[in-house]
Subunit: 237 residues, 2 copies
């Protein structure tokens, strides 16, 4: 079903065809992780929720694939935190931007940013540098589901707390992010929302979720989990 | 470049869009294998060459993705063995079949089978059962690059020696095949050709390459290699 949805949105020009290839890469890692949330991914989602709750200007940055995969939960999380929702494209065109914002609006989103970029992410050339000043540019905590490595790097260089959702724990995005969630996007968003509900109002728990989290240790646990799954899967058959 | 080629052939209707997602899954495993031929993949390629040389009626079965990725080496191997080359599609249409055969002919292939199927692979419903009687149906050794699990299973059930090229060592195709090469297709084809050149005429070496090969042990080595690569990659960074 997910594949069919992505293919259908490719036909409408909302998902780039190379986005289908990226999605396949994600599927392979999801398979290696057992297609479920690992303990490491749950811990990262909790740290992510804490950062979002503590943020001055939290932003959820979405692209073609992320929007196509799960507009509902992106909007739900943005409303819940609350955080701004901004569309930012690697393969930019006016039509694609309008199409994706329209798609989010059809799913109930309001105030989606991205139509009128008035700032640029330093260090990036090309259209993907384009962003809004009071959205991505000014954000202190930014959630980037399915991001490319260059942009993740540029956002980290701006001093932002970058939360990534990327199934590959060794990708440049996962390595550079402050909090890397290696999980399928829908599961990751639902876990962040559960932690937002749990942590909200409990400042001590929020502080502990932030300071007690080591992203490097957590990524190592993900890598170890992949090896355990692979070996167990092999031995079972 | 490979991605651009696949996307371009998707636009021409030769590669199915879900084939882009499959390609992405392969890319992820290729990355985990270090984007090079492992010792296990080299051993499997040698066993594959031995089986092809000893075959009564060897066939190379190609589909949209395989044809798009490397028509040159598919044709080269078919000529070298020699083996018959047959197009067999999961998402069949007359136009796509003609398009893919035409694409192979543009690259110098002659006698490509698949236009006029006159037999069916038992146990498969739908169009992908369609094959030629003196090609896939009658083959004793069949090379299937980038195959789907159902068809691999049906071919094994027909008693054929199935050689797969599939980057995922745990896929149904890899598990069911007689010889599973977990390597990127071009590298796998080039390694098979090198082994064909080395083994040809040396019947003792051919027998040894066949009898000394355990596919299960070899797949286990691939899984272990993925874990070593992941851990080394993590520690390096």
């Amino acid at each position: 079903m997910t594949r069919e949805r992505l293919v259908a949105l490719t036909d409408r020009g909302l998902v780039d065809r190379t986005g289908l290839i990226s999605h396949g890469r994600g599927e392979a890692f999801d398979y290696l992780l057992g297609e479920r949330t690992t303990a490491a991914a749950a811990a990262a989602a909790k740290a992510a929720a804490a950062h979002l709750l503590r943020a001055r200007n939290p932003v959820i940055c979405t692209n073609g694939n992320a929007t196509a995969l799960d507009p509902e939960n992106l909007i739900k999380l943005a409303t819940m935190v609350p955080a701004k929702l901004e569309v930012n494209l690697f393969h930019y065109s006016r039509e694609r931007m309008e199409g994706l914002i329209g798609y989010l609006e059809q799913h109930g989103a309001e105030d989606v940013r991205g139509r009128d970029p008035d700032a640029r992410i330093p260090g990036l050339t090309s259209d993907r540098a384009r962003c809004t000043r009071d959205g991505i540019f000014d954000s202190d905590v930014i959630l980037v589901p399915i991001e490319d490595g260059d942009r993740a790097e540029a956002l980290v260089a701006m001093g932002k707390t970058v939360i990534s959702i990327d199934l590959n724990p060794l990708s440049r995005t996962s390595r550079l992010a402050s909090v890397s969630i290696s999980d399928e996007m829908t599961r990751a968003l639902e876990n962040i929302m559960a932690s937002v509900a749990e942590l909200r109002g409990d400042e001590a728990a929020i502080s502990e979720a932030i300071s007690g989290f080591s992203n490097k240790d957590n990524r190592r646990r993900t890598v170890e989990q992949i090896c355990r799954s692979l070996t167990a899967e092999f031995d079972q058959r």
